[in-house]
């Protein structure tokens, strides 16, 4: 009847909608495949997983702040948390999935970016007023540092596997506090933990506000606020965790 209708009927053989006969198609997961393989889908998932991980940071920091309240409060909190082992297992599985997705997409997008320009300019200058080479150019590197720190942190305090640390068994009423202070009393781990959380702050200073853009939220009404919130969030998280590293081992000796 008209060009639009003709285009519609032609579209049956269009490569973009051609039916795949594999497992992905039989399960109706074509959209999911596209989500994880297209540039925009990848950044969307990157942003969503990043923001959910920010949620975890808030909960984790809030719990850890009890270290300043006292040994008893922190131990009670930790034991109450661990008593919910069924829920905790689900939460941990969810966190692992978020981390794996975020890390996989970091590699996928970075490799794509490196392939998009193989030769470099002799001279390069920003046109963004006041921009210095900031966090947004170092997301993969800062993310890698944070990943290294998270792995060390899991070995130290989730699995209690670090050699040379005098751990108490998890069932011991005083274990959470004792083990935390034991790990943080080691000068080398204090330095590594301090660097880890500061680099985490750098990562968040771009990641938090950038995630909103990636999921499609950018509007003159609220984007200035999100940008400021992103910086504040990064500072609160970095300073919050760093304060534990700096003050806690000395406070309760």
């Amino acid at each position: 009847m008209n060009a639009v209708a003709a285009a519609r009927s032609d579209n049956v053989t269009d490569s973009s909608t051609q039916s795949r006969t594999g497992l992905i198609d039989r399960l109706g997961l074509g959209w999911f495949f596209r989500l994880l393989s297209s540039s925009i889908g990848q950044k969307f998932v990157m942003g969503v997983t990043g923001l959910l991980l920010c949620g975890f940071l808030v909960a984790h920091l809030a719990g850890n702040m009890l270290l300043f309240v006292g040994e008893k409060s922190f131990n009670e909190y930790a034991h109450a948390l661990h008593a919910q082992w069924e829920l905790l297992a689900i939460a941990e599985a969810g966190l692992l999935l978020l981390f794996l997705a975020h890390i996989y997409l970091a590699f996928a997008t970075t490799i794509g970016n490196l392939k998009a320009r193989t030769n470099t300019y002799t001279l390069r200058q920003t046109k963004v007023p006041g921009r210095i080479i900031g966090a947004n150019s170092w997301m993969f590197i800062s993310g890698s540092v944070v990943l290294g720190f998270v792995i060390l942190h899991l070995i130290d305090l989730r699995f209690a596997l670090r050699s040379g640390i005098d751990y108490l068994v998890e069932s011991d009423p005083g274990a959470p506090f004792h083990n935390t202070v034991a790990v943080l009393s080691n000068p080398l781990s204090r330095v590594i933990y301090f660097v880890g959380v500061i680099v985490l702050g750098v990562h968040l200073s771009h990641g938090f506000s950038s995630a909103f853009q990636s999921v499609g939220f950018n509007h003159p009404k609220y984007t200035p606020m999100i940008k400021i919130l992103g910086k504040i969030f990064a500072v609160v998280i970095a300073v919050g965790f760093a304060s534990i590293v700096v003050f806690v081992p000395g406070m309760w000796k």
């Binding site: 579209n11 973009s16 970016n113 998009a116 320009r117 200058q125 921009r131 947004n136 950038s210």
Partner: protein, 257 residues
């Protein structure tokens, strides 16, 4: 040109010379003298080329057409900045009064895997054409013009669409992006056509196909540094990329495409 306010500049130019797509290129140094500050950047290159021709050397190849900032044909990286130091300006509209006597100017072509170098400062931007061919259009009935008030578009909507439609497809966004991403270009066309009634029938298919072509042409991803927006001579805004992201996710999750 002996305008009262104009002065003459002596400049050192370091220009990327490359004989062909497969050849190895490199920066070559040239001296130009007596360049009027009233000249445009491309006129300065014309002067250089005239010198080269007189000496029997091969002139520098560069793209240019309208020379009034509306066609999107010209574009080189000047001292590390796409289209040079001014905002909202194409290379042809950059004037030599922005430079000082004795300056050294480094001139390089757009660098991106998707924009292979043809010769010297000329790159092949047909990847942009293929992106547009995959969805950057509207299908309409031809024949008599429809009655003027059949399709009503509110003024503010028309203004939004027009701002996005201002893209001239020069490729400065790709050239200035650290990831050689074409998001700003694709987002301008997607936002433009998604804003107006004429674009609705192909809205979902358009964004899915254009993004698929963009990915297949090996453009990079968006890291939200804002360099593209700063380099864009048509002042296309970063909010268009957020709109592209929304359009893409909406099409992916809710359309039948």
């Amino acid at each position: 040109m002996n305008h009262a306010s104009s002065t003459n500049l002596n400049l050192t130019l370091k220009i990327w010379r490359q004989a062909g797509p497969q050849q190895v290129g490199g920066l070559k140094t040239y001296e130009v003298e007596g360049i009027s500050t009233d000249m445009s950047f491309l006129e300065m290159l014309d002067v250089l080329n005239q010198q080269l021709i007189a000496k029997g050397e091969e002139p520098v190849a560069f793209d240019h057409d309208c020379r009034e900032g509306i066609c999107g044909t010209c574009g080189v990286v000047i001292n590390g900045q796409a289209h040079g130091p001014d905002r909202g300006t194409t290379t042809c509209q950059l004037h030599m009064r922005r430079f000082q006597n004795g300056d050294t100017i480094v001139i390089e072509p757009w660098l991106a895997k998707a924009f292979p170098i043809v010769r010297d400062l000329v790159v092949d931007r047909s990847a942009f054409d293929r992106i547009i061919q995959s969805g950057g259009y509207v299908s309409v009935n031809t024949g008599n013009a429809p009655e003027a008030n059949t399709t009503l578009v509110p003024h503010h909507v028309q203004q939004d669409a027009m701002r996005a439609a201002a893209c001239i497809g020069c490729g400065a966004c790709v050239a200035s992006c650290k990831n050689a991403s074409a998001m700003l270009f694709v987002s301008a066309k997607v936002s433009h056509l998604a804003s107006i009634p004429q674009g609705q029938s192909e809205r979902s298919r358009r964004v899915l196909n254009m993004v698929a072509t963009m990915d297949a042409e090996h453009f990079g991803n968006c890291t939200n540094t804002g360099e593209c927006e700063a380099a864009c001579p048509a002042k296309i805004e970063l909010t268009n990329i957020a709109k592209l992201n929304r359009e893409y996710m909406t099409a992916l999750m809710y359309s039948k495409e």
